[in-house]
């Protein structure tokens, strides 16, 4: 008999105390898994007003009911914590063997608190849990540390998550890396791990992953493999992956260029666009058991050195390419590798380096060694990345994130510090698709492109990109679909590409749980989950005044491209926020209404009402 519960392994890294607990079915099932469990658990487990880098903060590694099965995109895990970059709800997704390994070991959630007395790593093998010394790993980059641990504990079935120097140095752009090229990157989750003196997590196991009907799961997977083989969308995704997005955004005039001063980057064509990356592609890679493997393997020569990388993804091409005025694919690959090894978020890194370049060009930097830095200077960018991870010179300030850096530099630089709530902008300029502005403003973790992807309707379909009225409803639909996928927890690429509908995912969940789920059931859960995540931020002091955008977006029109001259401004944002809060059942201040909490059965004092 399948039980839809979350089996939690909790470890206090300070005392060494471990515990096993279960989030019971009446809470676990209405929140599905992954993102839902993360929202519920952070609200319930973390006391209010905790310093994110203190031992009291809690770091969750979460899976979902589909994780580790052969169902599409089930090789993902989620890190949830209170973000040191924002002080808000933080959710950061990644892929890698850590996801199935946690379940092979018999757990769905790993919950870490406390601070180890010395550099350590956590070793979990089924029931065996031990904190081991990482004295010899501390200071190694993420690749070196992972290789050392894999040589000790296995390459094929062992889950490994590591931080690089950035995490050790509490950089607010620090990632948690796994399988070398995969990162839980956003919100500074690597710094939280570093603050706990935790260099790595190693997990292996031999337990059964609970499924109600393994034959039904296998039959569905087999059918989907056939579907992928004959799906043009899936084949395109396998050939180009996320690189194809750069052609879409560059055409639409929403490609961040030179710190969002422009939205088109003509130099990208043939170099860092899909065709440019195709020229350096030598193979493909896939996440765990993926039926639509979409990562590329590239090879470039740079300074007489052969660089090989799994990537680059679209966000990297834009944020470390066009956003820095760089069109040389080998320079982007070099920066991507540097970030992977240092454990730096390529998105936030692209924003802080772009911000520094603009400050230098405007003569706002007091550091004389950097005042000649200009957009397009890849060597300077590479040096800055290293300085950020090691907190040297200006890098020490940039390591605090762009919001803090602008505060310190002042002189009007706040206007072009591209962030929301302290989380740096991803690679879509909201002035070229107004729905993007709403999403950046309201996602709990700050400026985020993962909770919904408005270009799907504003660029690739017929929703008017430069209107604000009615946008909230469209965005909410996209958002809720993603919430469902991120709670199951699966990759969100199969849904649009194969395509697979939400009713298909309801079937997958039904096969796994033995309880018949419908798309409507999942929709109700999505609403419940988003309001619960909002409750956490409200409790931590966030409100409507924090759902705001940088002045550059509100007041400076894009100079060129299809979106030239388009602005929604604060008035437009207010219209979208009013509509959005209303469709969510929140009041005009963005606080969930009592009747909304009651309707979705959301308790505010721990556990499900």
């Amino acid at each position: 008999m399948y039980e839809h519960v979350a089996r939690i392994l909790s470890v206090d890294l300070g005392t060494g105390e471990r515990g096993r607990s279960v989030l019971p079915e009446e809470v676990a099932s209405p929140y599905i898994g992954g993102r839902g469990w993360g929202a519920r658990l952070l609200l319930d487990v973390l006391p209010p007003d905790v310093n994110p880098l203190s031992p009291e903060n809690v770091l969750f590694f979460l899976t979902g009911p589909l994780t580790g099965t052969p169902l599409p995109g089930s090789g993902k895990y989620l890190v949830v914590t209170k973000s040191p970059a924002t002080g808000a709800f933080c959710e950061s997704y990644s892929s890698g063997l850590l996801a199935p390994a946690l379940r092979f070991a018999g757990y769905d959630v790993l919950q870490l608190t406390g601070r180890a007395a010395e550099p350590s790593y956590l070793y979990v093998e089924d029931d065996y849990v031990e904190l081991r010394s990482a004295e010899d790993l501390w200071g190694l980059d993420a690749f070196e540390a992972e290789t050392e641990l894999r040589d000790r504990y296995g390459h094929r079935a062992t889950g490994v998550a590591v931080i690089g120097p950035a995490g050790e140095n509490l950089v607010k752009l620090a990632t948690i890396g796994s399988d070398y090229y995969r990162h839980a990157a956003r919100g500074g989750v690597g710094a939280v791990m570093g603050s706990k003196n935790l260099k790595a997590i190693v997990i292996r196991g031999s337990q059964e992953i609970p499924v109600a009907d393994i034959d039904r799961v296998m039959a569905i997977q087999r059918r989907l493999v056939e579907q992928v083989r004959s799906s043009p969308g899936a084949q395109r995704q396998m050939n180009y992956g996320t690189t194809s997005t750069l052609a879409i955004t560059n055409e639409a005039g929403m490609l961040p260029t030179r710190n969002f001063q422009e939205g088109v980057f003509p130099e990208a064509w043939g170099h860092i666009d899909p065709e440019g990356i195709k020229k350096i592609t030598v193979g493909r890679a896939g996440c765990y058991a993926c039926i639509m493997p979409c990562a590329r393997l590239v090879e470039v020569e740079r300074n007489d050195e052969c660089l090989r990388l799994e990537g680059p993804e679209y966000e990297t091409l834009a944020m470390l390419g066009s956003n820095l005025g760089i069109s040389d694919s080998s320079a982007v690959v070099a920066q991507n590798l540097a970030c992977d090894r240092l454990g730096l978020d390529v998105i936030s890194a692209g924003v802080v380096v772009g911000f520094a370049m603009e400050c230098a060009e405007r003569g706002l930097l007091s550091d004389s060694t950097l005042e000649d830095m200009r957009f397009g200077d890849a060597d300077a960018a590479l040096q800055l990345l290293d300085d950020i991870a090691h907190r040297r010179g200006l890098g020490d300030l940039l390591a605090e994130g762009v919001a803090r850096a602008a505060e310190e530099i002042g002189k009007g630089s706040e206007r072009f510090a591209m962030h929301v709530k302290g989380l740096e902008f991803p690679a879509y300029d909201p002035r070229a698709g107004f729905g993007g502005g709403l999403i950046y403003a309201v996602t709990p973790r700050g400026a985020c492109h993962r909770r919904a992807w408005p270009p799907a309707v504003e660029v690739l379909s017929d929703a008017p990109p430069y209107e604000v009225e009615g946008k909230a409803k469209l965005v909410k639909k996209l958002y809720d679909e993603r919430t469902i996928l991120h709670s199951l927890l699966v990759c969100d690429f199969h849904h649009p590409a194969v395509p697979l509908g939400i009713d298909d995912y309801a079937e997958l969940l039904s096969a796994v749980t033995g309880t018949e789920w419908t798309a409507e059931d999942l929709q109700v859960a999505a609403d419940r989950i988003e309001t619960t995540a909002r409750l956490f931020n409200i409790r931590e002091g966030f409100g409507r005044e924090d759902d705001r955008l940088p002045l550059r977006i509100l007041e400076e029109p894009l100079p060129e491209g299809p979106a030239a001259g388009q602005l929604f401004g604060q008035d437009g944002l207010d219209v979208m926020l009013d509509e959005y809060y209303e469709v969510r059942g929140w009041d005009r201040a963005g606080v969930p209404l009592p009747e909304t909490l009651e309707w979705y059965g959301i308790s505010t004092d721990g556990g499900q009402a």
Binding site: F104, R229, G283, C287
Partner: protein
């Protein structure tokens, strides 16, 4: 159903993406659960270097005059003269590990817990890994005058 010749798994290292779906469904087929450790087809990944061959699925190659069969002291391992198929009788296996040492491809493994060796058995003629590989990096190579039902 008439007889058909059994051959071996064909591997296309260029098509392999390292996703390990083959291993996962192999464990599901043979052990009735999801896992990777006890797979009979295993993917070697050359990471983070990524020099070719980057991802390499490894399973029994059904060698002519198979060396594992030659060293097996209990005749648990046997080879079909006509098809070249190398089979393993688990009841006879004593988990001595000679086969594992002798295999030139690292494609037969002893499971200490269960006290047996494991290797690819081609799922009785319809390999599950072939059916579930989305990039068709694993194929079923059948020679001769194969007949299906």
């Amino acid at each position: 159903m008439s007889e058909r010749e059994i051959r071996k798994l064909g591997i296309d290292v260029e098509a392999c993406t390292g996703c390990q779906a083959c291993s996962l469904v192999c464990v599901s087929e043979h052990h009735g659960r999801f896992g990777l450790e006890v797979a009979r087809i295993r993917v070697h990944k050359n990471v983070p270097e990524l020099a070719p061959p980057r991802f390499k699925p490894v399973a029994c190659r059904m060698c002519p005059d198979a060396p594992c069969v030659a060293v097996c002291p209990t005749e648990a391992l046997w080879q079909d003269e006509e098809t070249g198929f190398v089979g393993l009788d688990e009841d006879l296996c004593i988990a001595c590990g000679f086969c594992e040492e002798e295999c030139p491809f690292d494609a037969i493994w002893v499971l200490e817990d269960l006290g047996v060796a494991i290797k690819c058995d081609l799922c009785g003629g319809d390999p599950v890994c072939v059916r579930h590989c989305s990039t068709q990096a694993v194929s079923f190579e059948q020679g001769g005058t194969a007949q299906k039902d």
